[in-house]
Symmetry: C2
Subunit: 259 residues, 2 copies
């Protein structure tokens, strides 16, 4: 039997903080047909509030450390303020949804990243996604809205990369669904020329990716994102697209990632 | 057909902040059989964090005003930090649960309290509980964990009395279930003598309530709580008990409220 399509859409913190663009995005998201999932990051809101609370952001070798205060702020901001307000906005658009962290339904289980040269603190690497729980919500026509927090088996909430959460969910759900993964970020897609926002590469397969790597076209920030995309495709995700807040529109420009 | 029992347990912020007592409470809660719901307040944690963020707590005539900053802090603290950590702890006890506000599933709809002599700000009076949504979670053996936040039809989150949320849920679910409401607070029940913590009145019916009112035994804080209890019993709730963090134990002392 043909699997039903499932769309997993991931949005970053910058988009959430832009009221006009975010309103437009939510309207487009609400018009998507069929089962869907939203995954959101939180951007600088958590850092701002941590600063106001007098918690200094610890950095080691340019990497952020998530200490006890940080994970609490992240839980408050991503899991509370942002999550519940997104759900409220979606409800007004007639979209029945619930805001979830990895603790809810034990849906996203992770392990604390082991401390080697650097101890990242309360950061999680995803081990398991509870696809059964997510399916049961989808069957009730509930839209799961996930924030960037996973949970250990011992009940510790962990800061987790939102792209990784979106990809892990897509992979886990690929058994039951034809999964389509949509990453909304600041640009309309992967750019051939970093200085030209219109130079969107429409399709990147493994061959093109190698070529772009050799030509040093891909920025440092985009490298891990693309590697994750290929890994997701290799493990069963059906379709992956990168674009900006207009990605879900019919006529949008975007980059499609293929094997 | 005989309705199945459903237990709704409400706990206050003070209990959540006492690590040892709260651990013990959660263990007892996890041992309750059958469908159950947890409702939690947040105590002074939200006020503490609001203070740290430099938001002054506005008071008018001794009543707290929930301004824009306050509702955001409440959403962060109750809907995020407390909610997700309770869920994580319950998951470790093998209790599948999800943390909800009134926005999730549009489960608890309210209207902003109208400003008369005082404008309370973003405070909600409950209008409707989505019992169908809650039932569907219970049927999947998921424990709903509600924080003290409701939502308007326009998507505005509102600060809402946790006792009121517990009672409203119990009333709404009384159509499908034989509902039992448990209020856990600082004392083992309603006290005959405010100075004697052991003077727990074991049962209060409407007649006894009148007598206690005349004898001026009931404190100001307890008055609205008891009025709410009687109103809940009159509108279909089957059983109501008041006690402390040990209320759910087999041998606990408590006050039972009857019509």
């Amino acid at each position: 039997m043909e699997r039903e399509s499932l769309k997993i859409v991931k949005i970053g913190g910058k988009l959430i903080e832009d009221e006009a663009k975010f309103s437009e995005f939510l309207k487009d998201f609400s018009e998507l047909e069929g089962p869907k999932i939203l995954v959101h990051g939180g951007g600088k809101m958590a850092t701002d509030i941590a600063g106001k609370l007098g918690y200094e952001t610890k950095m080691v070798d340019g990497r952020r450390i998530t200490d006890k205060n940080s994970i609490n702020v992240i839980t408050m901001v991503y899991g509370g303020l942002i999550s519940k307000n997104i759900v409220a906005k979606l409800q007004v658009l007639g979209q029945n949804s619930i805001g979830l962290s990895g603790a809810d339904g034990f849906s996203i289980l992770s392990k604390k990243r082991p401390a080697k040269e650097i101890d990242y603190g309360f950061v999680g690497d995803i081990e398991k996604v509870n696809s059964g729980f997510i399916s049961s919500l989808l069957k009730q026509e509930i839209i799961p809205v996930f924030c960037a927090i996973s949970c250990t088996e011992e009940g510790q909430l962990l800061n987790t990369n939102a792209d990784s959460i979106a990809a892990a969910i897509a992979k886990a759900m690929s058994e039951k669904y034809k999964t389509e993964l949509y990453f909304c970020f600041e640009k309309q897609g992967v750019l051939a020329d970093a200085e030209d926002d219109n130079s969107v590469i429409s399709e990147i397969d493994t061959q093109k990716y190698q070529q772009l790597l050799e030509d040093k076209v891909i920025s440092d920030g985009m490298l891990p994102k693309l590697q994750n995309c290929f890994e997701a495709l290799e493990t069963g995700v059906f379709k992956i697209c990168l674009g900006d807040f207009r990605l879900l529109k019919q006529d949008s420009k975007f980059t499609k990632i293929k094997l």
